[in-house]
């Protein structure tokens, strides 16, 4: 191997770098969805929220010149979508899954429509923080270019876990998710709690979308999201509704996504379709390994329509 090339060491490095680079949208959407589902509702519309967030962030960053303003705008757009989902689902006999699918289509469609003029221009990008200053290798330095949003996501997970377990707000949210009747008997307004939870979930999903358009891969186009939003919703189930497990699931998924290209670049070129499917195979395998026909999924909120 020539100088400057890593050879086989490139594969673990690429998986590590991929875990950092690819996982952030998964992390934010799954944390948001975790919060929403803890309140007893599924918001499948987060795919649309993610795309809408990506478009909004790019447009605002381009227009204002400040990428952080774009992140905020993406969060607000997500909040609006979350609130819309919650207020429709708050009506009598409305199915949250059907509303979610409708909002997924609305979100992507609206983002494509409004995003037309922003495909061509280049918007200012979010800065990355270098953690690789200690290394002489350019590859390691590049792999450790960590975006601040990733760190925010990492910090948010234990905070959410703590909040759900130890605060009054967390308790109320969990009661609403576990038994709506008990919550009603205690005098809590179920719809209001769910509205807040879904809106917060939407905010996080919107921020996740801003990472796609403002950092990695870092441009807006109509095929930007290849189902990251919907995958993240599945990751929540995979992570058993535990914010910390959401972090690990997102990292695992990000790392596995990097495996295919990394192997091809070192010359393992046979069967790349299979390697590209690695994240999905992995998800399936873990789901099968940890499922049981005898009891309900551990940690599933009892009010969730899919588990009820």
């Amino acid at each position: 191997m020539d100088d400057g090339s890593l050879g086989w060491w490139g594969v673990p490095l690429a998986v590590l770098a991929g875990a950092i680079r690819i996982s952030t949208p998964f992390l934010f959407v799954s944390l948001g969805e975790c919060l929403t589902e803890k309140s007893g509702r599924i918001n499948l519309g987060l795919e649309g929220t993610l795309v809408m967030g990506a478009m909004t962030a790019y447009a605002v960053s381009y227009g204002s010149g400040d990428p952080w303003l774009g992140v905020l705008a993406a969060g607000l757009a997500g909040t609006a979508f979350g609130a819309l989902h919650a207020s429709i689902c708050g009506l009598e006999r409305v199915n949250d899954i059907a509303v979610g699918i409708a909002l997924m289509l609305l979100g992507t469609g609206l983002a494509f429509f409004l995003g037309k003029p922003f495909i061509q221009p280049q918007a200012p990008q979010l800065p990355a923080i270098s953690f690789g200053w200690w290394s002489g290798s350019a590859q390691v330095r590049s792999a450790l270019q960590v975006n601040a949003l990733f760190l925010v996501g990492l910090a948010l997970a234990p905070l959410l876990l703590w909040g759900l377990r130890n605060t009054r707000w967390g308790m109320v949210l969990r009661i609403v998710g576990e038994s709506a009747e008990a919550a009603r008997a205690m005098g809590y307004k179920i719809n209001q709690v769910r509205l807040l939870a879904t809106a917060c979930g939407g905010f996080l999903a919107g921020v996740g979308g801003s990472f796609l358009s403002l950092h990695y891969p870092g441009s807006w186009n109509e095929r930007l999201s290849s189902g990251q939003g919907i995958t993240a919703v599945a990751l929540v189930i995979f992570a058993r509704w535990d914010p910390m497990l959401c972090v690990w699931a997102s990292l695992l998924f990000g790392g596995a996504s990097a495996l295919g290209p990394a192997l091809q670049s070192v010359g393992v070129t046979q069967g790349y379709y299979l390697f590209n499917a690695a994240p999905y195979v992995l998800t399936l395998a873990i789901m099968i390994a940890t499922s049981s026909s005898r009891h309900r999924l551990a940690g599933a909120p009892a009010e969730l329509s899919v588990t009820r």
């Binding site: 590859q139 590049s142 186009n221 990097a258 670049s265």
Partner: protein, 375 residues
């Protein structure tokens, strides 16, 4: 019912004469109806038409047609390569009266466009990329494509001069003949300068996968590639990633020079404006449209991006001299002996495949020096 079917002999005769006369008129002058009013032309794209790539190149061609007198241009973008494209064609034909259709994506050809062409045998369907075969495909269809690998060969030469690690990276969508031909020509161009150069190929599996393309570019750069290029629908993400990592890149489909002011060397671009305006002139003039149109740099269907600032004088001189031989039609890329990357001889010594040789359009091998495989 019985009553309604009883026509008088006179009315039947009158109707038959009228229909027959119209038919004869139409047959004698095929473009009569089109000349009477504007020629309606439909362009169908598989992705957004401002994607810095494949669709933008076609849309720029359509824009040139739009500027011509006596035409009306319809465009529809993001049409999937499914039965959806048939619906789009139907609506362009039935609602807008289109008589010349350009479904521009590879997957539109078979079976979708062929099916529509059989149904509307009086209209013209021209497809980009497919291989029209007499006897097999309807006479009112045709296909056009350019030998863009000529420009890729030149990009390879420039890349070879710019690379220090002697490793190039190629991010490709799917292992189909047109893509393989670009990879091979790029590599042959580079190895004509320095035979120790290798090209690592990553197939992403589909025409537009931004996250995977960025990941592929990063992996290649981590492995030491210092010039990357691609064959995907929108090279924007790859070019931006290369620029961020501080390596060189060459473009594809359209010019991406503005996206990478430091690292953009040159690029292979389509010049569809020429192809489309030629077709429309033929249609307007009542000339029979050829079923198979092919061409490269010489015919003006392909062009190269202007050299970037980082390209050395030696590289410019070498590439320009080869370009001149392309322009006079004397240069042959696929000249034996050529081995594939498994060591088999694919083109024997002394054998030549000129650009127009359709044997090259079923290429299923990667040339020696490419690190990669087809499945």
């Amino acid at each position: 019912m019985g009553n309604a079917l009883r026509f008088s002999r006179r009315s039947v005769l009158k109707t038959m004469t009228a229909v027959g006369g119209l038919g004869a008129l139409g047959a004698g002058m095929p473009w009569t109806s089109a000349l009477a009013k504007d020629l309606v032309i439909g362009f169908i794209y598989v992705g957004p038409r401002d994607d810095y790539g494949y669709n933008q190149a076609h849309a720029e061609g359509a824009a040139a047609v739009k500027a011509m007198p006596g035409v009306k241009v319809l465009e529809e973008e993001k049409v999937p390569e499914t039965v959806d494209v048939e619906k789009t064609m139907e609506s362009m034909i039935n609602l807008d009266g289109a008589s010349l259709l350009f479904p521009t994506s590879f997957g539109y050809f078979d079976p979708h466009m062929l099916k529509e062409a059989k149904k509307h045998s009086d209209l013209t369907f021209l497809h980009c990329g497919g291989l029209w075969t007499p006897g097999k495909h309807p006479a009112n269809t045709g296909s056009y494509f350019g030998y863009i690998d000529e420009a890729q060969y030149l990009s390879g030469i420039v890349a070879a001069y710019s690379s220090k690690t002697k490793k190039l990276g190629f991010i490709a969508a799917k292992p189909i003949p047109q893509v393989l031909r670009n990879i091979n020509s790029f590599t042959l161009g580079a190895r004509s300068v320095d035979p120790t150069i290798t090209t690592a190929v990553i197939f992403t599996g589909d025409w537009s996968m931004p996250v995977k393309e960025a990941e592929a570019a990063n992996s290649l750069i981590d492995q030491g590639a210092d010039v990357v290029t691609c064959h995907v629908d929108s090279p924007k993400v790859i070019v931006e990633t290369a620029e961020k990592r501080g390596v060189f890149c060459t473009g594809y489909h359209a010019s991406q020079a503005t996206l990478a002011p430091k690292g953009y060397l040159t690029g292979a671009e389509w010049n569809w404006a020429k192809v489309y305006t030629d077709y429309v002139k033929m249609a307007q003039g009542g000339v029979k449209i050829p079923n198979l149109v092919r061409g490269g740099l010489k015919e003006g269907i392909i062009k190269t991006s202007p050299y970037g600032a980082a390209v050395s004088d030696a590289a410019r001189k070498h590439a320009d001299s080869v370009k001149a031989t392309f322009m006079d039609g004397s240069f042959v890329i696929y000249k034996g002996p050529i081995k594939d990357n498994k060591g088999n001889s694919v083109i024997a010594a002394g054998k030549e495949h000129g650009q127009t040789d359709i044997a090259l359009e079923s290429m299923n091998w990667l040339v020696e020096g490419v690190v990669g495989s087809l499945a």
